[in-house]
């Protein structure tokens, strides 16, 4: 149990998917301009990532490995994720319209969010068991959300500041992300 708690913390903070492992940076810069979009994206990622982690893990364990098709892993994973996202979207639209209204537009973007595929691949690479895979998917997603929301908060403040012309928008965003990454980097050695 203690191991799992430490593992969760290390996934959220020490190995933060966005700032330390550099995955999912396109939506990180794209959806962080406003707090609302950042929160929506963060929630959508947590939701989809846990499901995707589970589906890809099962697909690998029960389809790819028994039939010796490991070399198709990349294509199978991305198709599973794409199908899953589509399915989740239809399901939410039909049965939980409130949640759909919140997450709706972010769901299609998730297919090409490399954090999702990245975490699925990390789970496979580290050869996690089912429980550990679930914990890692959830923790990485929470880490993603945490970094994204923090960053959006900082970025809303930057809008008020006077930024030199060539530094505007993405450039200052990246430097800010660097400073944020430095704070996460400081957690190293904690666990």
């Amino acid at each position: 149990m203690r191991d799992l708690v430490l593992f969760t913390i290390s996934c959220i903070l020490l190995n933060n998917i966005l700032l330390i492992q550099y995955l999912g940076n396109c939506p990180f810069l794209g959806t962080s301009k406003r707090m609302e979009t950042a929160t929506g994206m963060a929630m959508a990622v947590v939701f989809v990532l846990v499901l995707a982690g589970m589906m890809t893990w099962l697909a690998r364990r029960y389809i790819l490995v028994p039939y010796d098709l490991i070399y198709l892993q990349t294509i199978v994973f991305i198709l599973v994720i794409a199908a899953l996202v589509q399915f989740v979207e239809m399901f939410l639209k039909k049965s939980i319209p409130v949640l759909y209204a919140g997450l709706g537009i972010y769901l299609p973007l998730i297919t090409t969010n490399c954090a999702v595929l990245g975490v699925c691949l990390i789970n496979v690479k580290e050869d996690y068991g089912f429980v550990k895979m679930l914990v890692s998917s959830f923790a990485y997603a929470v880490g993603f959300g945490l970094a994204l929301i923090l960053f959006a908060g900082v970025r809303e403040r930057i809008l008020l500041a006077r930024v030199p012309r060539p530094m505007q928008d993405t450039a200052i965003g990246l430097v800010t992300a660097g400073l944020l990454s430095l704070t996460f980097f400081a957690f190293k050695g904690m666990v």
Binding site: I20, Q21, Y22, T74, I75, L79, T111
Partner: protein
């Protein structure tokens, strides 16, 4: 006005150079620019995928139904990514190890998909090939430049074929911040700033 084939090639080298002008494919840009070797390897792998997928998508552009086009593009890109992955595993194993999960992640690196959607699905085969080649070489150049900057100032040496070549003198104190995670963001941000200064907007 339609661009000539040469212009399709050269636009990827400067006026639309990824990832600076087109802010796409940032993850490998940040993660694989710790050393020139990695950055260059990633650039070459991406160029291969981009040229092949652009050609195939341009050839199939009239066959692919527009409703499921994104899914089709993803499958085409993923196929070539698997080819690259297996080839690298066979011939350049140490680089394959270093690049790790970033090779399969080329699938969701937005550049091949973005070019497929924005260019290859509307243009002929030759043009698409030139577009892919230009973008790929542009990406390789950007990654190599950024990697050279980070590696040179972060470690004081450049590693080629596993052998470090010391460039800075002995009194140089390596700025190791640059080769760590936070340095990647800052270096990329500064480089974007320089590109904005140099280029017309």
């Amino acid at each position: 006005m339609a661009k000539t084939i040469v212009q399709e090639f050269t636009k990827g080298l400067w006026s639309e150079i990824p990832p600076f002008r087109l802010v796409l494919g940032l993850c490998p840009t940040l993660a694989l620019t710790k050393s020139v070797e990695n950055g260059f390897g990633m650039g070459v792998a991406l160029t291969f995928v981009l040229v092949c997928s652009n050609v195939l998508i341009a050839a199939l552009r009239n066959v692919i139904p527009s409703k499921v086009r994104i899914a089709c593009f993803i499958i085409v890109v993923a196929t070539f990514v698997i080819i690259v992955e297996l080839m690298m595993q066979a011939y350049t194993y140490s680089l394959y190890e270093k690049m790790g999960i970033f090779i399969p992640l080329i699938v969701v690196n937005c550049i091949p998909l973005g070019r497929a959607e924005a260019f290859a699905s509307k243009n002929g085969i030759v043009r698409s090939a030139m577009d892919g080649l230009g973008m790929g070489i542009g990406y390789t150049l950007s990654l190599s430049t950024l990697a050279a900057f980070r590696e040179l100032f972060g470690t004081g040496a450049i590693t080629l074929y596993e052998k470090p070549i010391q460039i800075m003198g002995p009194s140089f104190e390596p700025f190791s911040f640059l080769v760590e995670a936070p340095g990647a963001f800052v270096a990329l941000g500064l480089m974007l700033c320089v590109m904005n200064l140099l280029g017309k907007k």
